[in-house]
């Protein structure tokens, strides 16, 4: 763990230096010095950026909760019951490959321009990954794993808690991680209209105002937010999936 933190710090330092070098070489306002950007973040973070960041984070959490709330039960159902899978699989496979961003106009027509449609977009990106990961993990559990519980007459509730959910957790976490990168970029895009809050709005607004310093500040904060979220997910996976051995 310490090694990883050290490696991340080294990576950040390298990026910082490369940026500094580039800004010194080109000396143009479109590439301000990272020192000034960091100073700017220090000045406007608590007054301005933090609010936008909180809005974005709130939308991500809402979309994630919705996706898990719907995706987990559907995935369990499809993994557990062949009949449910036969019924739902065509639906999932038909809608899964559609680029979710293409559905944005429909989502906006149905849910408006506000937070609703932004959350729904995140939900749409995450939910299919969750459904498929959970279903596949449950299908992959060898039948013998259920025998000791089945021979005790364990109710489904216990089988769900003791077998199905823990068995699908590793793939579930991976799916969230993979989908999250797409989710953040789509969120950025949806935040460029219909709202005056969110990192997407902040960055694009700074760009339109030709305030490159603020624009870069927004980009840096957005990156750090992403880093923080992946860090949290990494940590959760390490803890909850430690039975799998070293990762």
């Amino acid at each position: 763990m310490k090694k990883r933190i050290l490696a991340s710090c080294l990576g950040a330092a390298f990026l910082f230096l490369a940026w500094l070098a580039l800004s010194e070489i080109v000396r143009l306002p479109i590439i301000p010095s990272p020192v000034r950007v960091v100073e700017n973040i220090g000045e406007i973070f608590f007054g301005t950026i933090a609010v936008h960041g909180a809005y974005s984070l709130g939308r991500i959490i809402a979309g994630l909760l919705l996706a898990v709330g719907v995706g987990l039960p559907v995935g369990v159902l499809m993994g557990w019951s062949r009949r449910a899978d036969r019924l739902l699989a065509p639906l999932v496979y038909l809608t899964y490959p559609v680029p979710k961003i293409a559905l944005l106009p429909i989502v906006m027509l149905l849910f408006g321009l506000g937070d609703g449609s932004k959350t729904i977009m995140l939900f749409l990106i995450l939910v299919f990954q969750v459904v498929i990961a959970v279903r596949d993990s449950i299908r992959a559990i060898p039948e013998e794993v259920f025998y000791p519980l089945a021979s005790l007459g364990a109710p489904f509730r216990l089988i769900l808690l003791e077998v199905l959910l823990p068995a699908s957790l590793p793939k579930f976490m991976t799916a969230i991680r993979v989908a999250m990168a797409t989710a953040i970029s789509v969120l950025f895009f949806t935040e460029t209209f219909g709202t005056q809050y969110g990192m997407g709005y902040f960055i694009m607004d700074a760009w339109l105002r030709v305030n490159y310093l603020e624009m870069y500040s927004g980009i840096v904060v957005l990156s750090v937010m992403g880093l923080f979220m992946f860090g949290v997910m990494d940590f959760a996976e390490r803890y909850f999936c430690r039975w799998q051995g070293k990762m």
């Binding site: 025998y147 000791p148 519980l149 089945a150 021979s151 005790l152 007459g153 039975w243």
Partner: protein, 249 residues
């Protein structure tokens, strides 16, 4: 007491019905042990699944303690071939799992310490995950899980076959110690003749698929490690049944 009469089990395949067991009769007295040997694919494991109340693809009568097999009413200890430990649970949680199913109201199983001590499972082992255990240690954990429940019947599928010779003998002794303390009716499936002779008061030989009973032997070598001529002869007789030469061997 376990009683099986006229049992036939089948599998539905793409081409039709395939028989796994045919006209099987079996009786294990209360507190007794019965070892079942047979070639691979003879339906031994199917029989255990039926006795465990997991499989229902059979005809005929199966009763445990004069009642039909109902996992919700009975306490059935089932130790599958790979020990059936859940990889995401620590040894402690694995051991307590069967207790949790049957006694949801109490957290710490009665008699846990005694059984753990008997099996030599220490505090350090309890915190580990199954992946971090040797085969013998996994076997100890699964025995602890089964015996903790004080089951009505104990069903073991090739319980010691994945262990090396020394660990196997050691685990067989451990099993005997627990079995003597609780006198639980036990059915053991194996493909080792020596193991059947050591663990089974009765030894039953099954034919290749569809399995039916070839011979039933009251075993006088039960719980004895022998190397006498008589023992060798008994072993040869059972081998004879297994290899299809019948009683003449």
């Amino acid at each position: 007491m376990i009683r099986v009469s006229n049992l036939s089990a089948y599998y539905d395949t793409a081409t039709g019905r395939s028989m796994a067991l045919e006209d099987m009769n079996l009786c294990v007295p209360k507190g007794g042990t019965c070892a079942i040997i047979g070639p691979s694919g003879c339906g031994k494991s199917t029989l255990l699944r039926i006795l465990a109340g997991i499989a229902s693809n059979y005809e005929g009568e199966v009763s445990i303690a004069d009642a039909s097999v109902d996992p919700e009413v009975l306490s059935i200890g089932f130790i599958p071939q790979n020990y059936g430990l859940l990889p995401w649970k620590t040894v402690r949680d694995n051991i307590r799992l069967s207790w949790k199913v049957k006694h949801p109201e109490s957290l710490v199983p009665e008699g846990e310490e005694t059984i753990l001590a008997r099996l030599g499972i220490g505090e350090e082992l309890l915190e580990r995950f199954p992946r971090e255990l040797s085969g013998g240690q996994q076997q100890r954990a699964s025995l602890a899980r089964a015996f903790l429940l004080q089951p009505d019947v104990l069903l073991m599928d090739e319980p010691f076959s994945a262990l090396d010779a020394i660990t196997r003998e050691e685990m067989q002794e451990v099993f005997f110690e627990l079995w003597r303390a609780q006198a639980v009716t036990t059915v053991i499936v194996t493909h080792y003749v020596e193991e059947a002779l050591y663990l089974g008061q009765t030894v039953i030989v099954l034919s290749s698929a569809p399995g039916h009973v070839l011979s039933v032997t009251e075993n006088s070598f039960f719980a004895r490690r022998e190397d006498s001529g008589e023992y060798a002869a008994q072993k040869a007789r059972l081998r004879g049944w297994l290899t299809g030469k019948g009683a003449e061997a």
